[in-house]
């Protein structure tokens, strides 16, 4: 009778332990897959920010390289999830998210710079107009002097009778 009770207790402990491990794995899977979704969303937001910056006139080629790196890391996270390496998947997804967030921040800064420098367009126009006016005035001055010298030379020249 005592041996049956012992066997029952051992069986119960093993079943509880197995349930606990399975539940732990399920929780790890859920955490990792949720983090992958979050990272994927961060990647999209980061791309939208860099596109905004580009449309404001910023050069975003360096940001695209960083986004590609983040995309590769996300792909590795997804592979780790499929392979059952949940902690790796979670870590990689977090790395991807942090890279994407960094790109988003830098894209916002680049956009601000681009907007600020685009606001200086009137300076370019003013410089163009001013330099054109100075050039035309200078050319009129040179033309006036040239004309006087030309006419002087014409008046000084004497007609010669030949034959």
């Amino acid at each position: 009778m005592r041996s049956w009770v012992s066997l029952f207790i051992v069986g119960l402990v093993v079943a509880l332990a197995s349930c606990s491990v399975q539940r732990g794995l399920a929780v790890e899977y859920q955490d990792a897959s949720a983090q992958i979704l979050v990272a994927d969303q961060s990647l999209r937001v980061a791309f939208n920010s860099s596109l905004d910056a580009e449309q404001s006139g910023a050069n975003v080629s360096a940001l695209l390289v960083r986004l590609s790196d983040a995309g590769s890391i996300l792909r590795r996270a997804e592979a780790a999830l499929v392979a059952g390496n949940y902690s790796d998947a979670l870590n990689l997804a977090e790395t991807c998210k942090s890279l994407a967030d960094g790109v988003r921040t830098d894209a916002s800064a680049l956009k601000s710079d681009a907007v600020a420098s685009a606001g200086n367009w009137w300076m370019t126009v003013a410089l163009s107009v001013a330099s054109s006016v100075v050039f035309v005035v200078a050319l009129f001055f040179v033309w006036g002097r040239f004309k006087r010298r030309y006419l002087k030379r014409l008046l000084r020249s004497r007609p010669e009778v030949t034959g």
């Binding site: 937001v45 975003v60 695209l64 986004l67 792909r75 592979a79 126009v125 054109s132 035309v136 050319l139």
Partner: protein, 199 residues
């Protein structure tokens, strides 16, 4: 000797050219190059980076290599997904005309970020895990770039062409920033595979 009128013409021309040169920076702020045709490209090349030598007779567990490429000619940066799918001859292809993608499950995905005018190319190494029963074959699983996935796709023996045929194809999806979602870009490429028990 040139007449005064000739010199006047020369001075006027110099003045005009000078004004144009000084105005060039301002003009470039407002005038943009005319945009050409905007499109994306998707291609698949064989193992020698040429449009030849694509894998055809594939056996269980053997590795094969092709190269995928995407080109961005949209006039701005783009975020693409290349989705790899497998179909048998009964499954419908994506519809390029109505921009409807295949409803088959995605087996592998590439995420690609490209600036305008840039081209991306990467290898796709794959192997299929196949089984046979009677006149049926089944691709139970596959490995893409070292990542194993379940497939569960079956094909009957094709007595006309003598083989079990599957098509590995790739769809190009483009991020639509308005909806923050990918949409099928009406482009896909693929190649047929004849699965065999041994190579």
């Amino acid at each position: 000797m040139w007449s005064l009128n000739n010199w006047k013409t020369v001075f006027a021309a110099v003045g005009l050219i000078g004004v144009l040169v000084f105005c060039l920076p301002s003009v470039s702020l407002f005038v943009r190059d005319p945009a050409g045709e905007r499109f994306s490209e998707l291609y698949v090349l064989g193992p020698t980076h040429m449009a030849e030598g694509y894998p055809f007779n594939v056996s269980d567990g053997s590795n094969y290599l092709v190269y995928l490429g995407v080109g961005n000619h949209l006039g701005n940066s783009a975020f693409y997904e290349v989705q790899v799918k497998l179909r048998n001859s009964e499954d419908p292809l994506p519809n390029s005309t109505s921009a409807v993608a295949s409803s088959l499950p995605v087996l592998y995905t590439y995420r690609v970020f490209l600036g305008d005018g840039q081209v991306w190319e990467d290898g796709l190494s794959f192997s299929l895990h196949v089984g046979f029963l009677g006149n049926m074959s089944g691709v139970v699983g596959a490995t893409f770039n070292g990542v194993s996935v379940d497939v569960g796709k079956f094909a009957a023996w094709d007595s006309v062409n003598n083989g079990y045929f599957y098509e590995l194809f790739m769809e190009l999806w483009l991020m639509n920033t308005t909806y923050n979602a990918f949409s099928f870009d009406s482009r896909f490429v693929g190649f047929w595979l004849n699965v065999t028990a041994v190579s």
